[in-house]
């Protein structure tokens, strides 16, 4: 969709303009934010607790300290996440603790006790396909959006069976590509639940999503000799997929003629529940447990 507008901007962009403006927004009290995306990689797992902040406050989110956090599995394991050093960051090390996030299909329950309130959330670890290869192909300039250069893609096949959902994360030269437009998710081998594309290689736009855009988001930056590309596929629950789909809608605001197609601002869902149904305190954010497959490659001559 985005590409369509580049051309439109070329023509109509003569008179259109965009600028940042000062708007006064309503004041609102902060709410607890749970950022709990953990996986089966053999490395330290982190859950972050923070507070929501005023929209225009360009600071790191205020941490929430002093919470007790555990994750318990249907296999009977309990992992205690403890706050060490950095306020608001709760860590658990699978190596030093001698156990790990377990087999596909296991369910996990997150329990948080903070400020005399208890919150809980549930997730499940789902299957993830291996990445068979990463390739680079030299392409001539195709249009102003796709200049000449090396384009990366990853090859992986969604397993047969409808309902696998993934988060695909790209690292270019070791840096996690984490701008709103870098957020890539897949429902089976396609973009969404509605059009079922199951049990095949991820569709082309998803394979191509490992080519990040430039700062102005109007052109792909091809890979150069010596660059590296590392791709991770995280299996996520269907609910987490729908959560991220809404995150895409809410954060991928490029402005310009995209605004014609923009959907209204909405609150994204959460799976964090206050155990006390009568409490007025609520939490937002998400808990998801993933299985991860990865592969990397450096572009050489």
């Amino acid at each position: 969709m985005k590409k369509v507008f580049i051309l439109l901007v070329l023509v109509a962009g003569l008179w259109s303009c965009e600028d940042s403006v000062n708007i006064s927004l309503n004041d609102a009290p902060p709410v607890l934010v749970v950022d709990a995306w953990i996986n089966n990689k053999p490395e330290v797992q982190v859950i972050r607790l923070s507070q929501s902040q005023p929209f225009f406050e360009s600071e790191l989110p205020p941490p929430v300290s002093g919470a007790e956090i555990t994750v318990s599995s249907s296999e009977g394991n309990t992992f205690t996440f403890s706050e060490e050093g950095v306020p608001g960051e709760y860590r658990w090390n699978p190596i030093t603790n001698g156990n790990s996030i377990g087999a596909i299909g296991t369910t996990y329950q997150l329990s948080i006790r903070v400020d005399d309130e208890s919150y809980t959330a549930v997730s499940q670890i789902n299957r993830v396909p291996a990445i068979d290869s990463i390739t680079f192909t030299f392409e001539e300039e195709r249009n102003p959006f796709q200049p000449e250069g090396y384009y990366g893609e990853f090859v992986s096949t969604d397993p047969v069976g409808v309902g696998d959902t993934y988060w695909i994360r790209t690292f270019k030269n070791g840096i996690y590509q984490n701008r709103p437009f870098d957020l890539t998710i897949a429902f089976d081998a396609g973009f969404s639940q509605g059009g079922v594309i199951d049990g095949v290689v991820f569709i082309q736009p998803i394979q191509d999503a490992v080519n990040p855009l430039n700062e102005d988001l109007d052109e792909i930056v091809p890979y150069e000799i010596g660059d590296s590309l590392y791709v991770e596929i995280h299996s996520i629950t269907n609910e987490a997929f729908f959560f991220l789909q809404e995150v895409q809608i809410q954060t991928q605001r490029d402005g310009g003629f995209d605004e014609i197609f923009a959907e209204p601002l909405e609150n994204v869902p959460t799976n964090i529940i206050n155990v006390n149904e009568n409490s007025t305190r609520r939490a937002i954010g998400y808990f998801c447990v993933s299985a991860v497959e990865s592969r990397g490659r450096r572009l050489t001559e």
Binding site: N26, S52, N143, R179, G190, Q245, P264
Partner: protein, 793 residues
């Protein structure tokens, strides 16, 4: 079965309607015929036929036909039409008579305009309210964006009409959404009326004769949409002589050819346009291209005095390609075949058959092994017989019916990935919409006129696919699929029917009149759009077992008054209230495209809109134009949205002021301008933000919708029209041509199309805070000058 019974009942009602009047007319004779433009043979719509002796008469219908029934005697009959010299004839009526009249245009010279008394009193004397007419001559005077005259942009200067801004397809009437307008081109519905994302419309001004916008008190012969009817009638083509007209503008060029096939018997019209920005831009854009074109054509044939045939069509397309393989295109096709038949002197009939389709498609991918192609389409076939029965000078009856077969193809899509083809097409949906109606305009006395009618409509969602059933789990969130069932093609999955009463009156008080109307309408097909503006990719979808038809009711009252000698000023004030049921909304995070389970993402609520419209028009003199002002509100209430409270729609505009003026500087030059002021549109704003995995997400603590207003919009547009020399070497030129210089957004105001909230561009390093800002996007943020040249010979 229930449906069959009620249909039969409807015919019974119709029968009584007709038979109760049949006894009234006896021992009288009928005078009828067509009123046409003497210059080119075009039928004149709404020309007045005044019988002086009885101070009554009639008006021509949309085909230019009139019929008045009189007792034997000698009468003075005056035929008149705005902008034409009226004609009086003394006629002795002793048998039924046919009298076709040709009126001569009064020319462009101001002083030639014949000041007529009652003929131009329509504002006050007609029972019609909430109705606006614009002729092409007026539209051409309005300063246009890039100098390109446009029908849809012109109607936005009328009271009660608005749009969410440049770049939005369609228009909003009295707080209704774009999909609640029925747009007709020679009877055929147009499912998307925009070119270039709404900068221009599909109606070629060279081919348009007359447009009529009905915002309330919609007569029973129209139905199927809640907010308005925009009835666009095409020219028939000059039946006297060949005529070529056209223009060269900044964006596109136009050419229209019309003329007789057989003088006064048959004529044709072919009008085409094409934009050419792409041709100039090619050196810079390579294979990338952007253009649109359209072709409007019509042929008509007077078989004999009782039969007339029309065939008209529209074909247009917008194409955006960013290279040879990838792009986006959309377009409409409509075709109408009409047969006018006079059963007798007083019974005029029209049988129309029309086809209309709208489709769009996307293509992405580098080569045949890695591609993604997607097409979507709506296709409809309609048969519409209608009868116009001129009972007597005091009653004019409309009876008819309409039946439409809909074929919706939401997606025909294929993904090809490393050579593996996956078909992700969605099932087609079929449905049938039918209606019968009767409508009578009754002149009770000189002061009181009534118009009353009844429409009975039915809709069947036909079974040719899988039927899904959904259930709401959490209001405002995606509904859960409860069951899925394959059905037989012969099954009717769901059936709806509605009685739609319509009523209006007009009562004369002194020099003004009071008018009132009530209408109930049902809308069975819905335009799905949850974007800020309506776009070319909006989908039409039928009412189903999960989606109920929209039902709307509207009451309106108004006072109409003319001032000055010869009705120089026309003024009106109208107030309306609309109550709408089953208004479509979308769940949070709705997935509207390529979604088999789309009905699970559609929810509904109630809507209301109310307001006051004020209009003052000056029709004569060196300076003419109008002021229109609307104070209005348009709101929705849907479970699960905005804490279940009422919220304003995206097109809720508190104040909407439009001023248009045209001043004749000299015989050959005229200057015109229009000014627009619109209150800020509502937008949803966050209060807070939160972070997930490094992504900063906006959050509204209060969970509200459309709670913030963007700054107001105002704009001034100017244009200067210079008629080229009308004489050459002392002789009058046969050709005429003009130069139009225009300046859009004269003082370069940056009117916001939207205010949006986003993260600042650029990569954020881990550990660094993220900046989030509010941005204003203006589609036209600078003055836009243009020049165009029009000719006719």
């Amino acid at each position: 079965m229930a449906c069959v019974i009620s249909l039969r009942r409807t015919w019974l009602v119709l029968f009584f309607f007709v038979s109760s009047w049949a006894g009234v007319a006896q021992e009288k004779f009928t005078l009828n015929g067509y009123v046409k433009d003497g210059g080119n043979g075009e039928a004149l719509i709404g020309a007045t036929v005044l019988i002086k002796e009885i101070s009554g008469g009639g008006a021509t219908n949309v085909y230019g036909f009139y019929s008045v029934t009189l007792a034997p005697g000698t009468y003075t009959v005056e035929y008149s039409y705005i902008g034409y010299a009226s004609q009086s004839q003394t006629i002795s009526i002793d048998s039924n008579q046919r009298l076709d009249i040709e009126l001569a245009a009064s020319g462009t010279q101001l002083e030639e305009v014949v000041i007529k008394g009652e003929a131009e009193d329509e504002n006050v004397s007609s029972v019609e309210m909430s109705t606006n007419k614009l002729d092409v001559k007026t539209i051409q005077k309005i300063p246009a964006f890039l100098g390109e005259v446009d029908v849809l942009r012109s109607i936005q200067l009328l009271p009660g009409v608005s749009s969410v801004g440049e770049g939005s397809s369609g228009f909003n009437v009295r707080g209704g959404n774009v999909g609640q307008n029925l747009v007709l081109l020679d009877d055929a519905p147009v499912y998307n009326s925009s070119h270039l994302f709404g900068f221009f419309s599909v109606f070629n001004p060279d081919a348009v004769k007359d447009i009529k916008l009905i915002k309330g008190g919609v007569p029973a012969n129209y139905g199927g949409r809640l907010a308005s009817i925009l009835d666009v009638r095409m020219k028939e083509g000059n039946s006297k002589e060949m005529e070529v007209s056209g223009g060269v503008g900044t964006v596109f060029s136009r050419l229209a050819v019309q003329g007789p096939i057989k003088k006064d018997k048959a004529s044709f019209l072919v009008a085409g346009r094409r934009s050419y920005v792409d041709i100039f831009a090619r050196p810079f854009t390579g294979d990338a291209t952007l253009f649109f074109y359209d072709l409007t054509t019509k042929v008509n044939y007077d078989i004999n005095k009782k039969n007339r045939l029309f065939l008209s069509g529209y074909f247009g397309r917008d194409v955006f390609r960013f290279d040879e393989q990838q792009g986006f295109d959309w377009g409409s096709i409509t075709g109408t075949l009409r047969w006018n038949h006079l059963f007798n002197d007083r019974l005029f009939s029209n049988f129309a058959f029309f086809v209309s389709t709208y489709d769009y498609g996307f293509s992405f991918g580098e080569n045949d092994l890695d591609r993604f192609d997607w097409e979507s389409r709506i296709l409809t076939y309609t048969f519409k017989p209608s009868f116009n029965y001129f009972l007597n000078t005091n009653n004019e009856l409309l009876i008819g019916g309409e039946t439409t077969l809909y074929d919706f193809k939401p997606a025909d899509a294929q993904g090809v990935s490393d050579g593996v083809v996956t078909d992700i097409s969605l099932d087609e949906k079929f449905s049938l919409e039918s209606a019968v109606y009767v409508d009578n305009t009754q002149k009770v006395n000189d002061r009181l006129t009534l118009k009353y009618g009844l429409r009975f409509s039915t809709f069947q969602y036909l079974g040719v696919n899988t039927v899904y059933d959904y259930e709401i789990v959490e209001p405002g969130r995606r509904q859960q699929l409860v069951s899925e069932e394959e059905v037989d093609p012969s099954d009717i999955i769901e059936s709806f029917s509605n009685w739609e009463p319509r009523f209006s009156f007009r009562y004369q008080i002194g020099k003004g009149s009071i008018k009132g109307s009530y209408m109930r309408t049902a809308q069975y097909i819905h335009l799905i759009s949850n974007t800020a503006a309506s776009t070319p990719i909006d989908l039409w979808t039928p009412s189903t077992n999960n989606i109920d038809p929209q039902i709307g009711e509207q009451v309106a009252f108004g006072y109409f008054r003319n001032f000055g000698s010869g009705n120089t000023y026309e003024a009106s004030i109208e107030t309306y209230y609309r109550d709408n049921q089953n208004q479509l909304e979308f769940v949070k995070g709705a997935d509207l495209f390529l979604n088999e389970f789309i009905e699970g993402d559609l929810i509904s609520g109630e809507g209301r809109a109310y307001g006051v419209e004020f209009s003052l028009k000056k029709n004569k003199g060196k300076l003419n134009g109008w002021i229109s002002y609307t104070l209005g509100r348009s709101e929705l209430r849907v479970d699960g949205i905005n804490r279940n409270e009422w919220y304003p729609t995206r097109f809720d505009q508190t104040h909407n002021l439009k001023i248009f003026g045209s001043y004749i500087l000299s015989a050959r030059t005229s200057f015109s301008g229009n000014f627009t002021f619109i209150s800020g549109a509502p937008v949803t704003a966050p209060t807070s933000r939160f972070t997930q995995q490094g992504l900063v997400i906006p959050f509204d603590y209060f969970d509200s919708r459309n709670g913030l207003r963007v700054p107001s919009t105002h704009r001034l547009d100017l244009s200067l029209t210079i008629q080229m020399r009308t004489e050459k070497k002392g002789r009058v030129r046969k050709n005429s041509d003009e130069l139009v210089i225009s300046l859009y957004n004269a003082y370069g105001r940056r009117n916001p199309f939207s205010i949006f909230f986003a993260q600042e561009d650029g990569q954020v390093l881990p550990g660094d805070p993220v900046n989030t800002l509010a941005y204003r996007f203006s589609i036209v943020g600078a003055p836009v000058p243009s020049i165009s040249y029009n000719f006719k010979f």
